[in-house]
Structure formats: C-alpha cells, structure tokens
Amino acid sequence: MNGSSLTLDSVELLHPSEGVGALSFNLEPGSILVVVGRNGAGKSTLLKTMAGLMPTRKGNVLVSGRKVNDLAPGTRAHHLAFVASTPPRGTVLSVRDVMELALEAGGQVAHADAVQEAMEKGGVAQWSDHLLDHLSDGMAQRVMLARAFVQARDLVLMDEPTAFLDVVGRRSTMEQVGAWMEMGKTVVLSTHDLEAVEEAGWADQWLLLRPRAKGGSQFMQQKFNSMEIKAMLTDS
C-alpha cells in the first residue's frame, strides 16, 4: 500500500476498556512515531497490537501493506521486531548468538561475516563474545536494540526501551534510534522520557494516547516539544 511501513486503519484497541478513540495514520519508511500517554493509557497494548500479538477491537493494522494478523509468525518476524522495556535476563546466549538469531529470524543468511557486520553496524561488536547476562542493563538493551534493527526489514517497535536506564544509557539509546532511522527503518517508540526524545532531535511525529472522555487520542505531525506534551499529559 503506497510504500507505507505501517498503516493503522480506524483501529480501536482492546485495552483500556473505555477506549482511546479510533486511530488512523500512515508511517512512511524511515520515519518515527513517538507514543506518549499516562500509565494505563494503552501504550503497550497499541505496540502489541501493531506487532500482531493482540487483536484489535475494530479496524486493521497493515505492515508493508499486509494485515499484520494474517501474517504467519515467521513471515511477520521478517518485517517487524519488538524491543521490550527490559533486556532478557537469565539467558546463556552471547551477543554474537543474539545477532545470529536476529539474522535468522529476519530470514537473512547468518554466516560469520554477516553476523560480524551486523554487530559492527549495531555498535555491539566490542562485546561479541560476552554473555548477554554479563552485560549491564544499558549494554544489554543496546544489544537488544541492534538485534531488532538487524532482524526487521521495515518496522521496529519499542515499548519504553529506556525505562530502566540511567542518563547515559538513555542518551545512547536515543542516538542509536536516530542512526537506524537514517538507514530507512521505521520506528514506533513509546516512552515517558520526553526530554531525552526532544534532546535527540529526530522526533517530528507523535501520538498522544488519551481516554475518549478526556478528548481522545491525538496524532500530530510537528516538532516534539516536551513542555507542551507534558502539559497535555497532565491535563489528561
């Protein structure tokens, strides 16, 4: 469908039950959407719905022109990837393993050179033989971000990826997001970290999730202004 990475066509979410209104918008390749909203506003539900992990109440989510719920899990993984707010703990995988799995999940050839190249592109090659479990939260989250961008051809969804990171970790994550965007990947990022997003400077589209009773959700194509958004959030 006209080259869009992600299209929401009158989507109503399952949660929260009071509803946030019907969501409709198009994201072009290489663009980014910042999703803001108070706790419980439905940010995680929206991202899971976009990822095809939850059904919609009404409407359709299209990823690269195809209904995301019609895609088989394997095919879906070629098009989109998801970054959770905390990196996995307790796994015995090394950084190299994670990147190799990402290439395989994305339907790409995972030979040693490709893995090395992916690690360098993601800025995680210096930890290649470390176990993911032995890295700090910030480092591990950086690996998970690189993993997602290597895996997905079109779309990377991030659910509060900086929630548990310190100032340095937040800044470096936001910088990394900008770098990947420039390579043509579309990003949807939900966050409470308004200042870090504004500081990074790449955000020019955002979606405020708000209950119907408070005026419903708002999709804006304009420069991200943390003060203004904070005021809108306080009001919701």
Binding site: A51, L53, P73, G74, T75, R76, A77, H78, L80, A81, F82, A84, P88, G90, T91, V92, L93, S94, D97, V98, L101, A102, E104, A105, D129, H130, L131, D133, H134, L135, S136, D137, M139, M144, Q151, L157
Partner: protein, 336 residues
C-alpha cells in the same frame, strides 16, 4: 573443535563405565565366561546374567539418564529457570501419584493391574507427569516471579505425596512393599522392552530438540521477544512440555521417581561451558545424563544403597552449591 574433543572424551567415559558395569557384578563370573556368554557361546546361567540382567540394566541407565537430562534441559528452557527439573517442579511426584493410583489403589479395589503387565503403571505415570506439566503451564502466566512457580511445583509435590500416603495407608502389604521398593528407584526393572520404549520416545525427541534449537534459544530471551522473532508460542509450549513430560513419565514408570538427574545434568554441562546454544547442548546433555546414571548405578551395585538415596546425597549439595554460587557471582561487567 574443542567441543568435538570433549564429546569424544565423554563418549569414551560412557563406554568405559558401560564396560565396567558389564564385566563386574556379584556373580563372580570370569572374564572368559562373560565374554563367551556375550558372544552367545557360554553356559545358560552366565548367558542369563549377561543378557537378561546386566545388559538391559545398563541400557536402561543410559536411556533413563539421557531422557531425564533432556527432560531437565527442556524444562529449564521452558521455565527460563535453572532450578527447574522434573523432580523439583512436581512432575515426578505427579507420575508417582499416577503409579500409586494404579498399583495401590487398584490392589485395594481388588483389581490386579499386574495382569496387564506394565501398561497400566506406564499409563498412570505418563498421565500424572503430563497433568502436572499442563497445570504448571496453565498457572505460570499468573505468577510474576519464577520463585512462586517453583513453590507451586513444590506444593503440588507435597499434595501428590500426601495423596500417595493416603493410598499407602489403605493398601495391602504386598502392594505396599512393591510400591515402596519401586519408589527407591532402580534401573534394573523393565528389561529390554522398557529400554526399547524409552529409546523409541527419546530418539524422535532428540531430533526435534536439535531441529528446534534456534526457537529454543529465542525462547530464552522472553516470550514477547521470542514471539516477535517468529516463534509460535503455543506450538512450542506444548511441544516442550509434552516432550519433557513424556520423557520424565516414562522413566518414572519403570525406574521409580529418580531424583535430581534431570535438574543436575544440564547444569553440569553449562558449568563446563557457560555459553551454549541449544543445538550444541543436546548431545552433551544426553551423554552427561547417561554417564551420571551409569555412575550412580555403579555405586548402587557396589554399596547396595538405593538409587534415589545416592542421587539425593549427591544432587542436593550440588543444588545448594549452585544457589550459593549464583548469589555470589555477580558478573563484573554488569556492575559498570
């Protein structure tokens, strides 16, 4: 390369242990007699000892050790918890209850399950283990912490244990004695038929574990990440639980509720090389499980102590060391 060398060493250790078990025992046969019996030329008694007692027992140890090792590996992957294992999460207890219902309950009601050979007991054990696995899978989403899940397994174990005690209290002396004997654990029961069944279940599941290696690796990164990496959550869940339950249930049916082998085997493999993908863990886990079972069986034969006592005497300290080691070993990089 290093892994291949260590696999060769493990295979050699397995062969040496197997041969030691085969050519030693209380019957005082000479090596010549044993060899002749093995090649089919010896006298009847020696032939019976070698072909009907020693060989099937050793083969059962190999099959059971490998099966419990793989079952433990799959459970630790599924629950993303290094302390998961058939004997910890109540799966073995479920099997025990299944067996008790058939053998003790059946005898009490005047039904003689032994008329049907081992089939009722095997069915009871399989049903018991699978039922507990399904229960665990159903409740695991409700628990925020893995510790709560372990406690759930422990409680299921207690509950099953209490029900077994009730059955024992009402059972007749003969059935009770047979049940208590079974509960001590042994690789000497079942003979070739049982070995065949365990191997027949094990081989396709080994093949599956190898072919599903990548998906199992992705699973360790969390359900959400795994699903968005293309893993079919429901399909993989049922396959992992089914495989782990069938393997643990089958072994329990014949060998009794074998303790710690399923929990300890994947640990020993990981302790040797901490970084392992599933596809490179399956064979070492099978070999280590078989080696541990043969070692334990050797001690049983030398000292006359029941199998489960040996395994608990070794297994319990291993788990304790593991917990202590885990709480002490905070990785250096994670602190920065």
């Amino acid at each position: 390369m290093r892994q291949r060398v260590s696999m060769v060493w493990m295979a050699l250790a397995l062969l040496v242990l197997f041969a030691t078990g085969l050519f030693s025992g209380p019957a005082h046969l000479s090596l010549d007699q044993e060899w002749e019996a093995l090649t089919g030329h010896g006298e009847d008694t020696a032939h019976t000892i070698m072909w009907k007692l020693r060989l099937p027992r050793l083969m059962m140890a190999v099959a059971a050790g490998a099966a419990l090792g793989l079952s433990g590996l799959l459970m630790q992957t599924f629950f993303r918890n290094a302390l998961a294992g058939p004997s910890v999460l109540g799966v073995t207890s479920g099997s025990t209850l299944g067996v008790a219902l058939v053998s003790l309950g059946g005898a009490t009601l005047g039904w003689a399950p032994e008329e049907f050979g081992m089939a009722p007991q095997v069915m009871g054990a399989l049903l018991g283990s699978t039922l507990v696995m399904v229960m665990l899978a159903l409740v695991m989403g409700r628990f925020r912490s893995r510790t709560a899940l372990l406690i759930f397994g422990l409680m299921v174990g207690y509950l099953a244990g209490a029900m077994v005690t009730v059955l024992q209290a009402g059972a007749d002396a003969g059935a009770l004695q047979a049940f208590v004997h079974w509960g001590m654990g042994s690789f000497a029961r079942g003979g070739w038929g049982a070995c065949g069944v365990v191997f027949a279940a094990l081989l396709p599941l080994v093949w599956w574990s190898l072919s599903a290696g990548n998906r199992l690796d992705m699973w360790t990164m969390g359900t959400l990440t795994a699903r968005t990496m293309g893993v079919d959550e429901r399909g993989l869940t049922w396959r992992m639980l089914g495989a782990a339950g069938v393997l643990a249930g089958l072994v329990t049916a014949w060998c009794g509720p074998v303790a710690f082998l399923g929990l300890a085997t994947p640990h020993l493999v990981r302790a040797a090389v901490p970084h392992r993908r599933h596809r490179s863990m399956v064979w070492p886990v099978l070999l280590t499980g078989a080696i541990l079972a043969l070692l334990a069986d050797g001690v049983v034969r030398m000292m006359g102590i029941p199998l489960n006592a040996i395994l608990s005497l070794i297994g319990a300290p291993v788990v304790l060391l593991l917990i202590i080691g885990r709480s002490r070993n905070r990785p250096a990089l994670a602190k920065s």
